[in-house]
Amino acid sequence: MTISRRDFGKLAGGVSAGLATPAAWTSARAQNQPIRVGCTVSQTGALASTKNSLIGYELWRDDINAAGGLLGRKIELVVYDDQSAPAQVPSIYSKLIDVDKVDFLFSPYGANLTATMMPLAKQRDRLVVGILTLASNDRLRHDKFFQAAPWGPNGADDWARGFFDLAKAQGIKKIAIVAADTEFSKTAAAGGRRVSESMGMEVVGYDIYPPTLNDFSSILRNLRSRQPEAIFLCSYPPDSTAMVRGLSEIGVANSVRLFGGAMVGPQYASLLQSLGQNLNGIVNFHLYVPEPTLKFPGIEGFLQKYEVKAKEANVDPLGFYIPPFCYAAGQIISEGIKATGSTDQAVVSKWLHENPVSTIVGQIRFNDIGDWTERRVLMAQFQGVRGNDVNQFRQAGKQVVLDPPALKSGEFVPFRQARA
């Protein structure tokens, strides 16, 4: 049997097309498949109060999908509950990467949970956006890690530095530091002492109390005797509540002009509601407050949508602290994909390192280990709070931003004067 050149050409073409069909079909199928983003959310356990982060992710997904998706592909979230347990995290992230085949990752909430997935992310060379995790990439230096929270470079030591900048600006010379005996608080306290001393302030008291303490009367009386001008308090929600109530019952020395700094708790609606006007005068850290200087594009629309979803889910009704940064975490990924026209981890990471990203929490630039190049932790003072209505905190002027200077929205009022 002989075969003509024309027949041979037809045969070769047919075979080639036959061989190429599965590859073309697979490629087309991949193009139609959603872009999958995976993470864990602490829906149960000690960190269950952070589960409103899921609303942030879902709103980002819905907004992107409503706008037609990314590169013609929808966004799909794959979320598991890590039970607030670090031991659960490695296997869940392995499932996300190896079984669910997600394209991008959000970290779990906080440093302890994130630390258990970072080596895996680096080993598999995956792009991860960190969710309010402090200094999680300092040691690993994974080049595809990007931080969604504004701790800034050298965040482990410097995140509360704004409080000391304020103290210096007020000419304060004597400071007392009070901290819970937990790592987060002790680290903040130690950093505070270093900064105070470098600024020439005298540390007149340095008290570490057990985390189970609920009666702060002796600590407050002790502080009165030392006559500090500022008190830097590093506390957790139960201690923050007890201390603020103690302030109203026992009070502090007349010399105190600046109080607060690193209190965890007054960022959440439940504590704002229960403490109400007892908060007046306290200067404390926050990540977002509804002040005119923080009207970033999209944030108000986000908070309106959040309010509806939060009511349905029965979670924090304000959602200032975590959810906007989860939405921004999604934007970090989507902006990278849009700009590069690619879902390639290396291409998107390179672009993110080289370009600013516009998000609902402002414009972000990343340094070589994915931290924000500028610290943007807010020091805000409670002013003019009346009664216990939580809705008043949606208005400007109740949590006035004093630091950083670029976002300043009001003037500092000395502690006693603000509480009068």
Binding site: T44, P86, S91, L140, D181, T182
Partner: protein, 319 residues
């Protein structure tokens, strides 16, 4: 089961498991398998004191946490390899078991159980205040590259845990069938009667505490490499204590196979539930299954099987 077939099956499981990384490519199965095997070791260790001798230990996580932090210390101080970490954790767990036993075994029943809870609080507080070990926030324990044979760090720690599980089960079976096991069962039945028969009860209980402590502690040693981060909350977790108690009770405490069945069953269900239904169900499942077994089958699955065999035997014997 006779000794020779038992040892052959144990050897086959061990060899098969060590070859698993050559055939299974997806690391997720090794992550999940590690957790299941970890609970086989913990439940087996717990059963030596709790099941054979009848001394209920609520402080399992203290021994597990001790193993975790011994490994973390050796990694940070000397960069010690995993086998050294495991051996050291075993020695520390054994010493801790003897010390705890010596202080608490003079009290019995619920008082002993409460005393073991104190051990968890003491050790956790101690770790919270040791800055060298990372205090409350913990420390990173990033593993060096695993031996090439295993194909990855997860596969390596899985194989290490498989070896520990086989060793623990073989040891538990040996103890159960030896004079130590007989002494412990006598203590469980009636301590004064055992004493009257010449059983050195305190010494035997100390031996049980030491072996149990060592086995639980070695289960904690590979955790540092598994999670790449250790912290007191995870190392001294209540979940470990709860599972260590529930698994032998569900499987059956009288024989070495009971904790193995309980651990394989419950840990597998937990792993599946975590990534399928909901982790809230996960916690609920342990509670419901535990209550169901305590009420309906106090002798565990082994007891149910024995009852079933007895019924069948009687039915067969009927004319």
């Amino acid at each position: 089961m006779r000794t020779l077939p038992f040892l052959v099956i144990a050897a086959l499981i061990l060899v098969g498991g060590l070859f698993l990384p050559q055939f299974v490519g997806n690391p997720y199965y090794f992550f999940a398998g590690y957790v299941v095997l970890q609970y086989v070791v913990i439940a087996t260790g717990w059963n030596i004191l709790g099941g054979y001798a009848g001394y209920i230990n609520f402080g399992t996580s203290a021994f597990f946490g001790a193993g975790v932090y011994v490994a973390a210390f050796l990694i940070k101080a000397f960069g010690a390899p995993l086998p050294v970490q495991i051996l050291a954790a075993g020695v520390v767990g054994m010493l801790l078991g003897v010390a705890t036993g010596y202080l608490t075994l003079r009290i019995q029943g619920v008082y002993f159980s409460i005393a073991t809870v104190a051990l968890v609080v003491v050790l956790e507080t101690l770790i919270h205040n040791i800055d060298y070990l990372g205090g409350a926030s913990g420390m990173q324990t990033i593993a060096p590259p695993a031996p090439a044979w295993f194909g990855g760090q997860t596969q390596y720690v899985f194989c290490a845990m498989l070896v520990l599980a086989v060793v623990a089960v073989v040891a538990a079976r040996f103890i159960e069938r030896s004079w130590i096991g007989r002494s412990l069962r006598a203590i469980k039945a009636s301590e004064p009667a055992a004493e009257a028969c010449g059983v050195p009860t305190l010494s035997m209980k100390l031996v049980a505490c030491a072996i149990s402590g060592a086995i639980i502690a070695i289960a904690g040693a590979p955790y540092a490499y598994y999670a790449s981060h250790v912290d007191p909350l995870s190392a001294f977790s209540l979940t470990i204590g709860l599972n260590a108690l529930a698994m032998p009770l569900i499987g059956g405490t009288r024989s070495w196979i009971g904790p193995v069945i309980g651990a394989l069953l419950l840990a597998s269900v937990q792993q599946i539930a975590t990534v399928t239904i909901s982790s809230e169900f996960n916690i609920l499942a342990v509670g419901i299954v535990l209550i169901a077994f305590v009420v309906l089958a106090p002798e565990g699955i082994l007891g149910l099987i024995a009852d079933l065999k007895e019924k069948l035997r009687r039915r067969g014997a009927r004319p």
